[in-house]
Amino acid sequence: MRPERSHKEVPILATITFSNLCMQYGNNGSRYTALSEVNLDIRDGDFISLIGPSGCGKSTIIDIVSGLKVPTAGTVLIDREPVSGPGPDRGTVFQDYSLFPWMTAFENICFAIEHTGGSHTKAEIGKRAEEYLNLVGLGKFRNAYPNTLSGGMRQRVSIARMFSMNPKVFLMDEPFGALDSLNRIYMQDLLLNLWSEGERHKTVLFVTHDVDEALLLSDRIAVMTPSPGRIKEVIDVPFSRPRCRKSLGATAEYLALKSHLLSVLYCEMMGEIEHQTQNFRGMA
C-alpha cells in the first residue's frame, strides 16, 4: 500500500481501492486538509469500518466514494472503475435524513429501486420493496411517513432501501449514531443478519466512532487520525462468523483488540488536545 502503487498491482479481488486520496478545502489563503494520502484496498465482500475521532475525515471518505465530493487528488476505484459521480451502484445510509419525508416507507424504497437502472415492472418493484420492508420487520408500516416513525424505524427503512437496491457496495455513515444503546444493539444484529445472506453479502464501508460496534461488525478496521485525516493503522478482526455478541465480548482476544484500539484512539485524542492547548497558548 505504497503511494506509488499503480492501478495494475491492485489485487483482483479488491472492490474498492483508494490510492493517494487527498482532500483539501478552502483557497490558498486558508487551506484545510481533510484527507491526506489515504491508501486502502478493500476486498470483495469485506466489512470495513473506518473509526476515528471527529474531524478525521471518515465521513469525507464516504462522501468521496458515494460521488458527492470530488477529491483534490488521488482516485477511488470501484471494481477497477474510477468513481465519476453519484450513482445507484452504491447504496448509502446516513445517520439520518436518508429518507424523503414526503414519501411513505414503501414509496421511499420503490423510488430507490426504480433508479437502480434495471428494467423492472411496477409490480416487481412493489414486490421487492414489500419483501425488504418485511425483512426489517416494518411490513405493517408500509404506508407510514418517516415523520411518524421513530429514529430506529427510519434507519430500518433506510437499511431496507440500501439492500433492496442491490448495489455493488454498501456505504454507511454512522448509521446508528443517533440511536439509543438498546436500539443500536438491535440494529447491529439486524444488519449482520441481513448482510450475511446471499446477494446481500457485499462489500461494506462503515463509519463509526464506537469501538465495540466496529469490532462486532467488521472484518477489518481502519483507524484514522485527524489534522490531516489519514489512515494510521489497519487492524484485522479475526473472529469467525456468525459472531455472538455475548461470547465475543468475553474473549481475551476481543479485550486485547479493544484495548489496543482504544489506546491508539486515546493517544491520538491526547495528542490532539495537547496540540490545541499549545495553539491556544501560542495565541495568548
Partner: protein, 309 residues
C-alpha cells in the same frame, strides 16, 4: 354525549330564537322596514341548522364551534335590536339585518352571476401564476447564479401593488376580463415565486445529498425532491397570492367592471343603496371563506407527510 356539548350551546339556540321572536313580534323602526323579513328569518334557521350540524360532526371541537356561533348570534341580536328595531344610527348608512338579508332574496341572480364571474377571472389568473411561478421558482432556487439576479429584482418589484398596472392593462388588453386576469396574475406571481425559491433553499442539504446518491437526473431531482420539499413554503406563498388575488379582483371590478362582486358594491354605493353594499360585503366574505376552506383542504392533503401523528 351530553357531557361533551358545552352548556353555552343552549345560549346559542336561545339567542337565535330570541332574534327570531324579536323580528316577528317587535315592529321595525320606521326607516328600517324591510317589507319582507323572511330572508332574515331563514338565515336564523339556517344558522341553527349549521350549528347543530357543527356539534354533531365536529364533536372534538364542540367548544370552539359553540363559541364561534355564540359570537355570531350575539352580533346578530345586537345588530337587529340596536339598528333594526331602535335605529340608533343613521338608518340609511346602517341598515338592520332584515333589510340587508332581504337583498339576497331579491338580487340573488345578479349576485350569483357576479360571484361566478369574479371567481372565474380570479381562478384563471391565479392558475396562470401557479403554472409559471412554481417551475420558474424551482429553477431559480436550484441555480445559484440565476438566484443572484432574480432575488434583488423580485424583492424590488414584488411589493408594488398590482393595481398600479391597471391603467396599462385596460389600454393594452382587449377586454376587462383579460386585463383583470393579467392583474391577478401579476399580484399572485411574486408571492408564489418568492415562496418557491425559499422553499428550494429550505430543503435540507442532507436530503438533497441522499437524493444525489441515487443518481437522479436533473428533471427527477426537481420533480421528485425539490418540488415536494419546497411544497410547505410554496403553500405559504400561494396563500398570500390568494389574498392578493381577492384584493386585486375586487379593486379592479370597483374601478372598471360592469359585473362582478366588486362592481356590485361600487354600483350600489353610487345609488346610496347601503343595504346592498353590506349584502355584497357579506357575499364576498362568504366566497372568501369557501375558497379558503378549499385551499386548506388541498394544503392538508398535499402536506399530509408533515403531520407527525
Amino acid at each position: 354525549m351530553t357531557e361533551e356539548i358545552p352548556r353555552t350551546a343552549i345560549a346559542v339556540y336561545l339567542l337565535l330564537a330570541a332574534a327570531l321572536a324579536v323580528q316577528v313580534l317587535v315592529p321595525d323602526a320606521p326607516r328600517q322596514a324591510a317589507g319582507d323579513a323572511s330572508a332574515f328569518l331563514s338565515v336564523l334557521v339556517l344558522l341553527a341548522i349549521l350549528f347543530t350540524a357543527g356539534l354533531v360532526f365536529h364533536k372534538k371541537n364542540a367548544r370552539a364551534v359553540t363559541d364561534l356561533f355564540l359570537v355570531i348570534a350575539v352580533f346578530l341580536v345586537l345588530w337587529e335590536v340596536l339598528l333594526g328595531k331602535l335605529s340608533l344610527l343613521d338608518p340609511l348608512l346602517f341598515p338592520g339585518p332584515a333589510k340587508v338579508f332581504q337583498v339576497f332574496a331579491s338580487d340573488w341572480q345578479l349576485m350569483l352571476y357576479g360571484a361566478v364571474g369574479s371567481l372565474g377571472i380570479m381562478v384563471t389568473g391565479y392558475f396562470f401564476a401557479l403554472a409559471i411561478a412554481i417551475p420558474l421558482g424551482l429553477y431559480i432556487g436550484w441555480r445559484r447564479r440565476l438566484y443572484d439576479v432574480a432575488y434583488p429584482i423580485a424583492k424590488a418589484v414584488s411589493p408594488i401593488p398590482p393595481t398600479v398596472y391597471l391603467p396599462y392593462a385596460i389600454v393594452l388588453l382587449p377586454t376587462f376580463a383579460a386585463s383583470s386576469v393579467f392583474l391577478i396574475f401579476i399580484g399572485a406571481f411574486w408571492p408564489i415565486l418568492v415562496g418557491t425559491i425559499y422553499g428550494v433553499f429550505a430543503v435540507d442539504h442532507r436530503i438533497i445529498n441522499s437524493a444525489r446518491t441515487l443518481g437522479l437526473s436533473d428533471h427527477q431531482m426537481v420533480r421528485r425532491i425539490l418540488l415536494p420539499g419546497a411544497m410547505p413554503s410554496i403553500f405559504s406563498g400561494a396563500m398570500i397570492a390568494l389574498i392578493m388575488s381577492f384584493i386585486s379582483i375586487t379593486v379592479a371590478e370597483m374601478i372598471a367592471a360592469t359585473s362582478g362582486l366588486g362592481w356590485y358594491i361600487e354600483y350600489n354605493h353610487q345609488f346610496a343603496n347601503y343595504e346592498k353594499v353590506i349584502a355584497g360585503m357579506i357575499l364576498i366574505a362568504l366566497v372568501v371563506i369557501a375558497v379558503m376552506f378549499l385551499f386548506d383542504r388541498i394544503q392538508q392533503h398535499c402536506l399530509r407527510w408533515q403531520q407527525s401523528e
